[in-house]
């Protein structure tokens, strides 16, 4: 029960920040895909950089475990491409469309219903996918520092540097 309350509270704060950052709207999402408005990229990359530093700090202090998704090239790449097509048509993400609905953009309802149907279709297709796409290029739970055999803080530092350069470029170009 406690877990559910934590989930709800975390979601409420997240949704609040999404709305304040103006990242929920179709125009912002599609604006990023059309390379016209980088608001959501600024938001996402800021989140990733802060969380990356904080979570690795917790891990080094023995206070948290990483949650690593398995690398399966076939399903990661094909799934990513399929997701991108759907995202480009819908203009909302699975999580953020609930937030879009929360600020009155009620076409998100159709996206939510579509996602329920799409999830049901995926469950139908799962046995066939498991025997094919999900077996192509399986590398398991790997991370970039492990693969390169270097300390994770080097990788974090590179990501932070790339993020800062990207932010500076966005501001210069007025994106």
């Amino acid at each position: 029960m406690n877990e559910l309350i934590y989930g709800l509270v975390t979601g409420i704060i997240f949704g609040f920040l999404f709305q304040k950052g103006r990242v929920l709207r179709y125009d912002k999402q599609i604006g990023a895909l059309r390379l016209l408005d980088m608001t959501i990229v600024k938001f996402m990359f800021s989140t990733i950089l802060v969380a990356m530093v904080g979570v690795y700090l917790l891990k080094d202090l023995g206070m948290a475990k990483l949650s690593i998704k398995p690398t399966i090239l076939g399903s990661n790449i094909i799934g990513g491409l399929i997701f991108g097509i759907g995202w480009g048509i819908l203009g909302y993400c699975p999580g953020t469309q609930l937030g879009a609905l929360g600020e009155g953009r009620w076409d998100a309802v159709w996206g939510i219903l579509g996602m329920l149907v799409g999830a049901a279709l995926f469950a139908e297709a799962y046995p066939a996918l498991k025997a094919s796409v999900l077996t192509w290029g399986v590398y398991g739970k790997i991370t970039i520092p492990e693969v390169l055999g270097i300390n994770h803080w080097f990788v974090v530092a590179v990501f932070v540097a790339i993020g800062m350069l990207m932010f500076r470029w966005f501001e210069k170009k007025g994106l």
Partner: protein, 134 residues
Amino acid sequence: MSRKVQEPRGWSPYLAGALAGVLIVFSVWFTGKYVGASTTFVRAAGYIERAAVPERVGMMEYFLKEAPKIDWQFLFVIGIFFGSLIASTTSKSFRWQAVPTMWEQRFGPSRTKRAIAAFVGGAIAIFGARLADG
């Protein structure tokens, strides 16, 4: 509401994004939970299907893997709705809109057209998200 009413600008996306990052760190620290959303649609679809064909859902491999249940992430996704509702209604940025502005400029004001595209796009997007496991 008239479009001429200037909407408040909101917060810097860098600030709001960084605060979301801090929130993730606290979530991982206190509860060990990482954020996500797409599994929730699988669980919700499983719930709905189970009401119609319980035996079938009980045998489907993917619903055994991602069982229809209300978990941390399910409430997280619902929370996003309420968080956005609170932020928008307290800052005069809530607006009922059936067809997004940029969509309308390109595809016209038809609600039906937008509804069909959003539905199909949603179905495709979640299929890809689940396949990529993200």
